[in-house]
Amino acid sequence: MARAESGTLGRRPAVGFVLPALVLIGVFLVFPALWTVYLGLTDYRLTGLAAADPQVVGAANYAEALGDERFRTSLWLTVQFVLGSAVLGQAVLGFAIAWALRDRRGPLKSLTEGLVLLAWILPSSVVAFLWIALLDRDGGTLNAILHTPGFAWLLDHPMASIIVFNVWRGTAFSMMLYGAALENVPPSHLETARLAGASTLQQLRDVVLPHIKGHVLTNLLLITLWTFNDFTAFQLTAGGPEGRSEILPVYIYNVAMSGGRLGFGAAVSFLVLVVNLVLAFGYLRLLRSRGEVRPS
């Protein structure tokens, strides 16, 4: 029936209904984002003279950050963290688990999925301590199993530790996304390839990948965005020792909150916002091109 969408609700009550949510989002989401831009241009500090009377210093914070060895190191560690734990770790492991479980039923599948999911849903403070316990130098379970007593994983290999930790923590999402994606691959296509004698790798390349390309892209964009912003590593190493695991979120906290340099921290935050914006735009465009807009 040629009926335009009906306005069940009048314009005025509609505005009244939307307004409270918009005000809250405006004050606690939009305004902070904009304020970051301004604060990043000042020398605002938590204490001292610049706390009482902050000065606009223009791009000085940005110039300083780019010249700062610690910031550049942090940036490089972040790249390692995102590529290592998200793109390589979570995505590959998640896909592998989904692939290995794709035609299984029963307790093994439930157990595996349950454990992987548990790692994802437990509160970050809890999992952080579980890993501290696991990697503990003296009594850690890992050293007990590997017979390497006294090996200080978190001190000697802090980056590797938080990368492996984040793979453990976040693989569930990729596993489930790929699990759902693999269900959409028509079994007849795989069987055709198998009958033609294709190896597993050939099947993956020629049959599976073309079907799940969109999912792969969605997955990579989202886990990159989340890993880039993840603060849980702070609870394991707090960026230490000596800044050797100080990824950007931790760097911002250490500089702005612990160090009190709010203006400088805001400048670095702004860079994070810009990267997030690029990633989120990519994600939304992907969703639009596939005709489904869903929240992340």
């Binding site: 606690f28 984002a33 454990l115 437990l122 970050s124 453990w168 990633l279």
Partner: protein, 274 residues
């Protein structure tokens, strides 16, 4: 495929799954054993069974209080998010609001861009200026702002899937907009509201960064922050307290997760986490 290749494939797959199980189970072993161990050590081991560790929680000045704080902050945020998101989603679903799609698009973008990490400085500043430091309200408002866009989006999906004839029918019988909402819309989308509530509670219950920044007073701090201070601050960590507390603090999230996935199925885009 030759039988040998087939067998190798099966063995390879089994070995891989065994490794995966080991990798994911290993860190969790401690959480399963230590809380019930009479002498909990940092190593996971078969416990000498006791419940004394949970009694030790009672002696800790902050442990139980922090769970109450978590509850206040989580339920407060959930109530706020569900109420505001339901109103907004209803209006956006049912009224001809100009620029509605663009608005949703921008909100969606914002919710994924303005993370706690990226906005910790201005959020701290904002809370300071509004006198919200060391208040539950500060944590609730800050976290709700981040949860609202996705909540509106998911609920609008629910509302869109509900035929308008229900509301129109009520209107023809003379119901006012408020009555339509109370008598018809809310009961109809109750599963959606429950999902959002659980999703919000679980999200706030586990969040660490915002309360860590906004609360200095340990009497206000939620479980996430107290647990962190238990193992980072001062002296040898009390493993009995930490293990029992970790388990107690984790349970609600796991229960809620099971509830939502049993009841409504798991939708990971709008799912329980993020």
């Amino acid at each position: 495929m030759t039988p040998v290749r087939h067998m190798l494939g099966t063995i390879g797959r089994a070995a891989f799954l065994a490794l995966v199980l080991g990798f994911f189970a290993l860190p969790l072993l401690w959480l399963a054993s230590a809380p019930f161990d009479a002498h909990p050590s940092i190593t996971a081991s078969v416990p000498e069974f006791t419940l004394a560790n949970f009694r030790a929680l009672l002696d800790n000045p902050y442990a139980l209080g922090s769970l109450r704080n978590s509850l206040i902050q989580a339920c407060g945020s959930a109530a706020l998010v569900v109420t505001l998101a339901a109103l907004a989603a209803y209006a956006l679903s049912r009224a001809r609001v100009p620029g509605r799609d663009a608005l949703l698009y921008v909100l969606l973008l914002l919710s994924s861009v303005v993370t706690g990490t990226a906005a910790m400085v201005p959020l701290f500043e904002l809370a300071t200026r509004l006198n919200l430091i060391d208040t539950h309200l500060g944590v609730v408002l800050t976290l709700s702002g981040g949860l609202l866009p996705a909540a509106i989006f998911i609920l609008k999906d629910f509302m869109d899937a509900t035929p308008t004839s229900y509301e129109e029918s009520a209107r023809v019988f003379g119901a006012s907009p408020g009555q339509v909402l109370r008598h018809v819309v809310i009961p109809l989308v109750r599963p959606g509201l429950a999902t959002i509530a659980v999703w919000a509670v679980a999200g706030v219950w586990g969040s660490f960064l915002q309360p860590f920044i906004l609360l200095r007073d340990p009497d206000k701090a939620p479980g996430a922050v107290i647990l962190y201070t238990l193992y980072t601050e001062g002296g040898a960590p009390r493993l009995d307290v930490i293990s029992a507390f970790s388990l107690l603090y984790s349970l609600p999230v796991v229960v809620m997760y099971v509830f939502v996935s049993r009841r409504y199925g798991f939708r990971f885009h709008g799912g329980i986490k993020r």
